[in-house]
């Protein structure tokens, strides 16, 4: 056992650091021009624009330790914004289950950040019980296109998306995991209606999407008809490992402490108050432990094995940690916690603090609610059965 990074890893870390430093946005520079240039240069580094893609598809082919270093460094640096839907969620599905034509057709635009994707999974009747979906896709008599009818909900950024990857039901005669078909289609077309849902924090991120007789050519189907659940499940696993965001949380925790130290209490500051300090301390200790849980899981993946049982707890712990940081930010705001919106009063961090906290409540709901995650750990890791499963 050795906690040190190898010489090669240290060199890699320095290389990442200097790349970030050299390509920082300059004062007065146009943001979108900088963003485009940044990804171009990252690509020239050997796939740094798509760090998680395998080498076969143009990714860097890093070791788990290199990925860990990258995540740590990105948490500290100010990188151009990026969305996970195409790059992190659809791309692995295309790579694993898409045809060569589909890969050539969709992957380049995803990589160039030209096309925005959204994820059409959840439905009014299918949340954590995702397989219960009802959106119908009916194949035409000549077998050339599907007609899609139904509704999706909680569709993040559907109002900005060019395309959707969508789970639809093509057969309801068997068990609910069967008869699901994975389709891709453009959002800007007749028969698709997007309605905003305003969440507790007052922002518009998610939507309901209604489909009325939407025509989808059969070549936009991933893999076989009726096998969509298998493809989506693989993707959900992929999603799970990327949700912890621990490096980011460490940075946010340090920022929180700095904020708390600016709040005077008597001769000291908020970080001198026993109860507040204890909560911050317990949070940091959980974070220190979870960081090593992530490293252990990376290490077992690196030695060729499957991620160990410890990886199953990363989403649970990681999301809970993020929520606690938001909550402590609200607590630090004191009386200003009740001021709403950007025009709110009080210290700068109090503005939007409560909205951030409220929005953070969904961290333990999306991508499989914490309770569902626990069901999975109980079944897959502890080997506990759920009596008479329906």
């Amino acid at each position: 056992m050795d906690i040190n990074l190898s010489t090669e890893d240290l060199q890699f870390r320095d290389e990442v650091r200097s790349f970030f430093e050299e390509n920082k946005i300059k004062q007065g520079e146009d943001y979108f021009a900088w963003r485009e240039g940044w990804f171009k240069k990252a690509r020239e580094k050997g796939g740094w624009d798509v760090p998680k893609w395998p080498a076969k598809f143009g990714g860097p082919g890093w070791t788990p330790t290199q990925h860990y270093i990258w995540e740590q460094e990105t948490a500290q640096a100010n990188l151009p914004f990026d969305l996970p839907f195409g790059l992190g969620m659809l791309a692995p599905i295309l790579m694993n289950y898409g045809s060569e034509e589909q890969q050539e057709r969709f992957l380049p635009d995803i990589r160039d950040r030209k096309v925005n994707w959204c994820q059409g999974y959840s439905e009014p009747g299918a949340g954590s019980d995702l397989a219960n979906l009802k959106t119908k896709a009916v194949l035409s008599k000549d077998g050339t296109y599907y007609t899609v009818n139904g509704s999706k909900i909680w569709t993040t950024l559907a109002h900005m998306a060019d395309w959707i990857f969508c789970l639809t039901r093509t057969d309801d005669s068997g068990i609910k995991q069967q008869g699901i078909t994975f389709l891709l289609f453009p959002m800007k077309q007749e028969g698709i209606e997007v309605k905003p849902i305003i969440t507790l924090g007052g922002s518009h991120t998610v939507n309901t999407v209604h489909f009325t007789d939407v025509k989808v050519p059969v070549e936009n189907r991933i893999g076989e008809e009726g096998k969509g659940w298998t493809y989506a499940k693989g993707l959900l696993e992929h999603e799970r490992t990327g949700l912890a965001g621990l490096s980011k949380s460490l940075v946010e925790l340090e920022q929180l402490k700095d904020k708390a130290r600016t709040i005077q209490r008597g001769n000291g500051n908020l970080m001198d108050e026993a109860s507040y300090k204890s909560k911050v301390g317990e949070l940091e200790i959980d974070l220190l432990a979870t960081e090593f849980t992530e490293l252990r899981s990376l290490a077992s993946a690196a030695s060729g094995g499957e991620p160990g049982p410890e990886s199953s707890i990363l989403k649970l712990k990681g999301t809970e940690i993020k929520q606690r940081i938001q909550k402590l930010t609200v607590e630090a705001s004191g009386i200003y916690a009740s001021a709403w919106g950007d025009k709110g009063a009080g210290p700068s961090f109090a503005k939007g603090g409560t909205a951030g906290y409220l929005n953070s409540r969904y961290f333990t709901i999306y991508g499989g609610a914490s309770e569902v995650q626990k069901d999975i750990v109980a079944k897959k890791v502890l080997g506990l059965t759920t009596g008479k499963s329906k």
Binding site: D286, A289, E291, F292, K374, L382, T386, G387
Partner: protein, 375 residues
């Protein structure tokens, strides 16, 4: 960075695991614990012969040149059987102080014998008023020519009943709570003026209150420099925290796995208990706390090997989490075993008691949270 044990460490791990499986079923443990001296002399000799007692000592001192990771490997397995042999008192505490501060003469006379299992040494540091503050030392050592005269009382001294020698932490200078002015001495347990009041602890081990009345000790028996003993004490206590935490992780593994097994066998309301989601989630929480403790144990141990001073904060974090999570896992195991959980018949209650004791030693969960947030 890697989390792999060396081939040697893996072999030791397997051999300790086998030793615990073969020798430490509950009936045998209860029997050994209830008879004097509270552990098995045969097992202690076997451990010495297998080389386990010398792992964490340098080759110069007669050991194998290992470090805290080797101790972790041993203690985690010991934790799975609640091993009674006085490894912590002798090797981590007494031996740990001597290897750090002993003169060549002391090392030579003590360590080889200790490693061979022929001599026992413990550490007397805590006092009634000190609670968890290791710098709070009232027991005085007054200089008298070439000797020191020790007066005072030491509390909760582990395995003192069987100890041949005691490393005693004394005040030679400064006020009662100063880090400066603390000195460590090695004294014979049978010296005139030493009185031991022995008693069992909650977990079936043994401890003593020790009164020192005009106990004479030569200045040759100083461990470390006079007045500068605190840094040795702190390093030894940190090692003890790592060792106990490893033991706790082993114990927590047994508790969550026993609970998973038990709930699958026990039927109520026409279902195995494990069918009930509320119980499943409690067990998932137990499993998660175990894994988190294991992660932080590895982190604190690896950091300590790298740089013990920088690792101090992580060691505090570890003892906080071990205390809190250990009790959570123990209480949950008892709760999920229902009535059987509160009997002495199942082993889980014994593991729970050990975790309770571990929280109360070398600073409890709250104490270390406070230390962590103050650094």
């Amino acid at each position: 960075m890697n989390f792999e044990l060396s081939e040697e460490q893996k072999m030791i791990q397997q051999s300790v695991e086998r030793f615990v499986q073969e020798n430490y079923d509950l009936t045998n443990r209860v029997k050994i614990s209830s008879e004097d001296p509270g552990y098995s002399q045969d097992y202690w000799t076997a451990m010495a012969e297998l080389g386990w007692l010398g792992l964490a000592f340098s080759e110069e001192d007669g050991g194998f040149g290992g470090n805290q990771i080797d101790t972790l490997v041993l203690m985690e397995q010991f934790g799975k059987g609640l091993v009674l042999e006085p490894f912590l008192a002798n090797i981590v505490l007494g031996g740990g102080a001597i290897k750090r501060g002993g003169t060549p003469a002391i090392k030579e006379s003590v360590l080889p014998n200790l490693i061979e299992g022929n001599l026992q040494v413990t550490l007397a540091y805590a006092e009634e008023q000190s609670r968890f503050d290791i710098e709070d030392v009232a027991t005085a050592a007054r200089e008298d020519g070439n000797n020191f005269i020790i007066n005072g009382k030491k509390s909760m001294v582990l395995n003192a009943e069987s100890a041949d020698k005691i490393v005693v932490v004394t005040r030679t200078n400064g006020s009662q709570v100063d880090e400066d002015g603390i000195s460590l001495f090695l004294v014979d347990a049978t010296s005139a003026g030493i009185e031991r009041e022995n008693f069992p602890t909650v977990d079936g081990l043994r401890a003593s209150e020790i009164t020192f009345t005009d106990v004479e000790v030569s200045s040759d028996n100083l461990i470390g420099e006079k007045d500068k003993g605190f840094s040795i004490l702190q390093a030894v206590v940190n090692d003890a925290i790592l060792a106990l935490s490893a033991e706790a992780v082993g114990a927590m593994e047994v508790l969550y796995k026993d609970t998973v097994e038990y709930t699958q066998q026990r039927e109520q309301f026409d279902h195995p208990l494990s069918d009930f989601q509320v119980l499943q989630h409690r067990m998932v929480d137990m499993f998660m706390e175990y894994e988190q403790c294991k992660s932080l144990l590895l982190r604190a141990t690896m950091e300590t090997v790298q740089d013990p001073i920088l690792a101090q904060r992580t060691v505090h974090a570890l003892k906080h989490l071990i205390g809190k999570s250990g009790i959570f896992v123990g209480e949950s195991a008892v709760q999920l075993h229902g009535g059987m959980g509160v009997t002495e018949e199942l082993r889980i209650g014994h593991f729970f008691k050990r975790l309770l004791v571990i929280d109360s030693q070398f600073g409890n969960s709250d104490f270390h949270l406070d230390k962590f947030t103050s650094l």
